[in-house]
């Protein structure tokens, strides 16, 4: 029994049943497949999180975002500037208590270098309804190249708890033709 010492004292010399051995081999191979699948996707897949990150002071990140906002704001909505930066450019999205600032307007099928950072606590960038979720830290500037491929209006929900106003922290990204 499993509750008593093994009945064969030299238990490590007992042979392993064929069915157990078969399952161990299958499970091991499946593990290898899953492992190499992640590596394969870095080459063949189109959805990989960037490894490009810089340390940054919150005020510096805010300045850079403000420079972009000053240059490319096209209109205002509910007090938020709507910014339409040129394709291929560096785009900044500020996470702070409790808003995503500013609203971005991007062109479909164009690439942008999206910078994400927080000015205070941790936040969660949750782009809906595509359901892309990335953690946002203060002091870290995560740069990811994104290429929106469906036009429409997207919500940015905060999905890392960030205090009492957490559930009111919603931003917006437009993708236009």
């Amino acid at each position: 029994m499993a509750l008593t010492p093994p009945s064969e004292r030299i238990w490590w010399k007992e042979p392993i049943a064929k069915i157990e051995l078969t399952w161990i081999l299958i499970a091991f191979c499946w593990g290898l497949i899953m492992f190499f699948m992640m590596i394969y996707w870095h080459g063949a897949g189109e959805q990989n999180l960037s490894n490009e990150t810089y340390r940054i002071k919150p005020e510096v990140f805010a300045e850079r975002a403000q420079a972009m906002i000053d240059e490319y704001t096209v209109r205002e909505e509910e007090g938020f500037p709507v910014v339409r930066p040129p394709p291929g450019s560096d785009v900044y999205l500020i996470a702070r208590l409790w808003m995503w600032w500013p609203i971005l307007e991007l062109e479909k099928d164009q690439s942008y270098r999206l910078h994400l950072s927080s000015l205070d606590w941790q936040h969660g960038f949750s782009l809906q309804p595509v359901n892309i979720n990335v953690q946002v830290h203060p002091g870290y500037d995560l740069v990811m190249t994104i290429k929106p491929d469906v036009a429409g209006e997207y919500g940015v929900v905060c999905n890392e708890y960030c205090g009492l106003g957490h559930h009111n922290m919603v931003g917006k990204i437009y993708v236009v033709e």
């Binding site: 029994m1 509750l3 069915i19 979720n133 995560l142 290429k147």
Partner: protein, 564 residues
Amino acid sequence: MATATEFRTCPNTGLKVDLAAERLIKANAVVAIVFLAIGGLFGILVAFTRWPAVHLLPADWFYLALTAHGLDVLLVWIIFFEIAVLYFASAVLLNSRLAAPKFAWAGFVLMVVGALITNVAVLQGDSSVMFTSYVPMRAAPNFYLGLILFAVGALIGCFVFFGTLVVAKAEKTYEGSIPLVTFGAMTAAIIAVFTIVSGAIILIPTWLWSYGLIPDIDPVIYKLIWWGMGHSSQQINVSAHVAIWYAIAALVFGAKPLSEKVSRMAFLMYILFLQIASAHHMLVEPGLSSEWKIFNTSYAMYLAVLGSMVHGMTVPGSIEAAQRKNGYDRGLFEWLRKAPWGNPAFSGMFLSLLMFGFLGGISGVVMGVEQINLIMHNTLYVPGHFHATVVAGTTLAFMAITYVLVPLIFRRELILKGWARLQPYVFGIGVAGNSLFMMGAGTLGVSRRHWDISFADASLPFDYPAAAFLMMGLNGISAILAMLGGLMFVIVVVGSVFFGRKLGADEKVSLGEVAGSGRAVASYGSSDTIKIPGTAVLVAIFFIAFVLYYFVNWKYLSEIWPMS
């Protein structure tokens, strides 16, 4: 010292039971169940608030209740119960005295005091930082202090366990190697030491930081080390509840492991590889490379997953072999159909096994794929996954073994046997619903730890799909079932402990309801006599489900915006 130890003899097994160990097992198990009840109550408040049609608590109370829920059930209930399991698996199973019972009591007191301090800090309202307390969000200093005291207490418990192994070996209280269940408990204790050290490394500086003595703590490093504790502690749970699966299979069926070597190797895989699972929480963080993420999230090429998949066959396999030996040999599944489904120890254990594998295991591996995590991180999919592992898996297994511990250790007959018979099903179905509907909502994008998914007061409007609201409603209904199941458990167990008929000193306890259980099966099990076709079919179904679900999620991933 040894002469001063008092023993009684267990009428079932003939083992000597150290009375000091028995008292400690009782104390730890009782406190565990008290915190299960408290934490469960907070859980139901959380589920009712997230049910959009009910939306029970105001926002500040919701975040407070959610913090307390995680703390009391994920940490306090489980660790107290695990300490009880450690003492049982060492002193009782090894026929030995418990090493240093005074230290064990000191550890117990520290854990109680720590749990109370942190709970009070949370209830005071200025520590609603969630169980994870990610910096730079700051809790009251006592929040961290309580956790540190609790961890020190648990560490003492682990060392009492190791000490008991040494004592038993030195005093030759058993022959040959330690039992498999004790080996599993040892796995849990070794991982616990790693876990607690990680916790100390991060929580002590964070405590000082909360007083302003340390200027700041890097949020990514915090998370990395915190999850060295947070995720590893889930691996303690896995080791402990797998050990309990084996224990119940042995108690109810007299089942013998198919192969001691294979089962022990599978536990060893846990020790060697589980700790690096901190990475599961870091897959979409800035500042860590993909190479690091891939190696660590896969437990070095899925070797710890391999361990669990092995147990997934050997546990039901050992039951099948025992049942066939007991005469239930017809067809593929007579052994399972004729299993004692009315015995809560068995039904709880088997439901735990099924749900841990099919719901918790598969979802965990899929969510832990570096890229697939992008479509799941911090959505409700995450709590959906871990309610399957920690509640349906660990908690249900702990409940199942409790039905055995009440007569064996508390020496009381169960009251309300009809309730006990139903309880694992009510709780299990409820939790399975919680898990599935939260995963469903998460797939639709719904955020975890979120008070209002209708965004009524948000600065900009946003709507989740209507199906998400349906999922949250179904989750609420499942939570009612789970609550009833939890309540039944607490009433049956607490009622039995205080009011159940006292068993006589020589009275044997009937554990299995299967004819011939507990006898004889210990002599078969060599490789050429094993016939477990039914288990092979179950494992094949599991494997097909796993592969299909895995690739379906890659398909989902391929549909989101291209990004690099």
